[in-house]
Homo-oligomer: 287 residues x 6
């Protein structure tokens, strides 16, 4: 009986956090290890389910990760890179879109719905949610790699208000009628801003933003928006962290009060960040 | 971090129960020790708060307990009893109503609202929710002691749908214009039926229904509606348990699927009953 | 037949007034003789009923009057006063709250509902409607005597829109978790302002504001907000009238167009004020 | 002051009647002297206004009366009758429709709206409310004289729910595309049935149904539906009363609880019938 | 099959126009030849029906045309004119109103509803939609000839949102209680402005605004609001075109983006203007 | 001008058909040649756009066609068949789902949205719309080939009511947590039934159901539900037609009034079927 009462008290300790985010939207960028490890995948689905039933409204944007490379290898297609950026020709885009919208997206949906949840997978092309434009780079033509032109959040609000969890793949439709693959971090930050989210959480495979990526003790616990902009301009960060930090800045500039870069390798990282006092990873505060 | 993850998992283990009662009404008869002990009072308020934020809709009916006797003593009024039933003359009723609707009711409201919740105290007279009739007894005139004539649940639904927790004192208005004090158990069972509640929970100061009240090992874990009716007709039960069992039968006859008589002296008894597999007290199942 | 036609014409003469207040909220401070005399009590309930069925939305705030003293006498408690203000210790507050929320409030509700109306009694603690703060006085500690910190009118609007008449007792909940007794006039003026009422009517036991309280011919028929403020600062008014005038000023400053201080000893004073051309008492006009 | 209080009490005496018809539809057949006399016309408009502001929903169906003959005389057209029924050729119908929908209807609307009310004039052709069929008579072709084929009450409900008073002229559209003039009594009874009215009131120029039309003491105060059918079949009634009685039967067969045939020459007959105990004219009760 | 596919393609070519006006209000001034010729009348009704079923919301304001003179002749009343304006005494107004609201209006309604549409005929007096004032002229008293004082578009929005097509006759109610006949062009322009229409179309019996009315090659295809104002002040236009141009200016000043004066003698002129690229008549563009 | 008027008349001729299907759901099984040929693909998107803007609610279910084989070939996977049914192991299912939900589905969405429409692509797994079960065959284990266990149409109704066109891929989620590929015809018929569609249209690559597939003159123009069941049991039909006919029977048994099997190679086949009198293909009528 003691043990059960302890469990009741743990539930009760979550109340203030649940009250804080009640009826609020939390946008989560999902990717990396948390999307590969079977244990973490299940824990992630359960975290979403708990949030939803506690009256919080999670919205997920996911990347494609290793699955894209796997399919390209299967069809014998050699990935090409220009200055570190993937060149995406029409054939590659077809494969990328199939993996993102047809495999990764639907697997997340399956995991949630199999638990009794109600997730809906959307591509950014659906309902014209993400209008894309070709990414402009001075150096080379990257093909069907795009940027966010604008977000129409209407269908996402509809779905969320009906009690579903939207799972969004980062493909947008250009006004030229072509589909574009967009960096999922960038999409997530823009969607957080367009939805008026209460919080934006970006999962990574490191502890957070660190001055020295090899030294966990250099973790930056908190940043101002101003500080985040400076850090982005400096040469401290490694390549993968740049779009993540940029997406946080985009969210904050869109009036999201707080953004977090946290370690997706930690089981239940989402629940821990949202429903406990435990500050994990790096928090960036809006003005 | 391990500890925090454990706490996240405890939250997650509550999901199936939360899903089961999502958007459902749970009627709780509150009284006895749980309404006297300061620790239990706070735990009760927190239990309600958690339920509410998990999308469950608690409705509370309370009795008056020792407070009525305390005020009667203060004004120097001698309680009178006839065959074990309190005789309630006009002066007594005035005191009873003040204690129930003006003190006990408002204290429960204070406790919840002070935690950030949104409770509303109602008397059964408010909005004509409880229509009362004078209790007919063959032997004697008990005065302003009433029975439930009918329940109009409209305002309770309105309040619940607006996100408030209704706290109801068991005073009804007769068609004769007089107020009547009604047994709180009986009111609670009728309200559970009228609201179409998913569950009715009656707090007592014992472990549940026992064949021998002095021997906890004789606790009856489960009863059918049929079995409950038989038990009510037998002479096994002591006086205080009779209206509680009757209120469960009333609820079940009104299509509430399950009723529970549980030990209000157990901290967080409500959460334990609703959100764990731990079967405490006596459960009575509807047909 | 002549007589009946005359009665029809009297109904018809009320049309312009009914049209003026259709769907509008009228806040009434109820107290004094009108709350003591049986005849006046019934007439008051009927006035509210007529307003409600003519599409006008009455909201009542009441005081406690002689009932508080009566109960204190019953329990042998001596009222204490400091510079004319009642000192309210914890024991007194318990009695005050029981009388206000458990007796006076519920009696008004009974009177209306017995006629077929639909009243709901609320304490300012219910739904967190009245947030209180301890009254600051330079001279002495008055105990649990409070002031209005803020009003949350949401539940009152909900109740009114559902067709009920809210009856409000002037008890507020402090952020310290304690209950506070607040002057009912002050509560009424604040609630009129918070609800965006069309009119605020304050019942008294005199004809209105008079230059000389003993000489009815000195009745002030109309005042500007400016004039009301000046009068409040002067030493013309006796003690009881000060919070009434202050509550009118509070209402007008909160954009209520008109406030009235009228004689509650006049049967049907409310209907007369609202539905005839007869100007009774003192009217104070907003800017 | 006495006088004013008396007036307040007259208002209050109307409460039970207002409560009875609150939010209910009352269909009134308007015609005869009440539609000719200037004083009665104004009184009628005021009666409607009072009902509307007391939350009752009046719906008016009117005839054309002497105005049709006046216009026919003006254009030099001779009325033709066959066995007492007006023969309506295409030219006559044009005049009839202009008078009904363009003059009488709009004058009633003007009278109400000039008082600050909100009336809307409709023909039965508008929104396809009245589907007509040619009246079948064994003896002769009456031209564009129709019967009610069916009523579509949707637009009337919309208008009433928006707070307007619908005024309906008895012209219907046939499936042959022609317009038909229908007896206004018959239209009114059918509309009362289709709207699910709480009461149907038919104004006439006599005191009610009388065994001997010359002897007021033979007034029938109350009839059952059964009795009304028998009376219709007998030869007691004069011509004008037949369609009125028929319309009452139609309303009652359509589940309207009560129908009244009352004297429209009595000023405020509507208010008197609805808001006093005074039984005037003949009441016919449904089963 | 070829032919059918061609027809499908014609439907499809209308899509961009339908999308442009989807859920938008288009106000049409209906009059002249289009209201006299049987073929054009039917085509007009069908045009409205198509618009309505394509999700566009037509609102029609009509004049009276030759019908007024016809009835006046029938009753032997001589039309009087002062400086080219009809003098409308009380008797004339009665006839004018009967023709407008009782004949022309109801005929348009019949034509639409006979096709299965859902039209509702309203006078500007209904629901107080058009508040009128006596037209002020320096030279003479024209009697009951009015101007628009104000428009209350509420009932029109209600009717349109319920899926009906409102047909409005240009009679307004003055605050003096008298009815006034108002120029239908002027009413239409004001209603387009009050409704926030997307387009205002005025049907005439000429090709559009021409520099030389006898020379079709002088048709002005497009005008700015500025240009329209200048043209109105010049002496180029003949009498009948003046109120039409004025009504366009009124609409554009009320933020209607475009107004059109087109030839109502062209069958399906409305559909052609709205659903093809074919620019017919004169278009006036707002700022 | 003549030509334009002709086009206007073609629009108008569509009115009765538009009225018939206004606000009604039409479920279309999309596949075969119509999903391969670029011209037909565009025509199909435009047909949907027209229907949507004419107030009709199209819902599309698509198959995968040759695209599945293409990807399997690309990854070097040999298709296996057992008694003519594709054996779908886990690896195949992954590819099938990617093609259906990630490529074909999103291409249809792109085509519609690029034209300015608002389509949303869903898998049957999204929102738990299609609950699948493993297909039971007596002879062999086909792997992840499923049947419809049940349809939850809620999200489809939500999407349609918000003005979007749902495009559904035939993948369902089993209660075992595995995904299943279901025959698209079968899914479409079940969805038509679950949505209460007004019509179900199945596109094929032949003219309709023919007694002799090589002889177009043996086309069956109309079948009763009874006749369809008999035909299904006979050995007349070739393999591909069997699930199509079965899906029609499923739709009709689910109270869809009419089902059509039409030739998707005909440009604008959908519009022709819905908006003209031209009966193409085979119509099957419900009881």
């Amino acid at each position: 009986m003691k043990d059960i009462q302890l469990r009741a008290e743990i539930l009760i300790e979550a109340i203030p956090y649940i009250m804080q985010f009640h009826n609020k939207i939390v946008v989560i960028k999902y990717g990396g290890h948390a999307m590969v490890d079977d244990d973490l995948k299940k824990a992630f689905a359960k975290d979403l389910l708990f949030l939803k039933h506690a009256g919080i409204k999670p919205v997920v944007v996911h990347g494609g990760g290793p699955e894209i490379n796997r399919l390209m290898k299967m069809v014998g297609k050699e990935p090409k890179f220009l200055s570190g950026l993937r060149v995406t020709d029409a054939d590659s885009l077809e494969l990328v879109e199939m993996v993102l919208s047809g495999k990764v997206n639907k697997e997340i949906v399956s995991n949630i719905n199999h638990l009794g949840g109600k997730a809906i997978g959307l591509s950014g092309k659906d309902a014209g949610s993400i209008k894309a434009k070709k990414q402009e780079t001075s150096t080379a033509d990257l093909g069907y790699v795009g940027d966010v032109e604008s977000i129409d959040p209407h269908i996402i609000h509809v779905i969320v208000d009906e009690g579903y969890i939207p799972i969004i793949s980062p493909i947008g439709l250009g006004i030229d009628g072509f589909s574009y693959n967009i960096n999922a971090d960038i999409v997530a930050g823009n969607i957080a801003a367009a939805l008026g989210a209460e919080k934006y959480i970006c999962l990574t495979d490191v502890t957070g933003i660190m001055h020295d990526i090899k030294d966990p003790s250099t973790l930056i616990h908190e940043l101002s928006l101003e500080g985040a902009r400076e850090l982005l301009g400096s040469s401290v960060l490694n390549g993968g962290m740049l779009p993540k930090l940029q997406s946080c800045i985009t969210a904050l500039e869109g009036k999201v009060p707080q953004a977090h870069i946290i370690d997706g390798r930690t089981k239940h990282a989402i629940l821990i960040e949202l429903l406990t006092d435990e500050g994990i990873g790096t928090m960036i505060k809006g003005d």
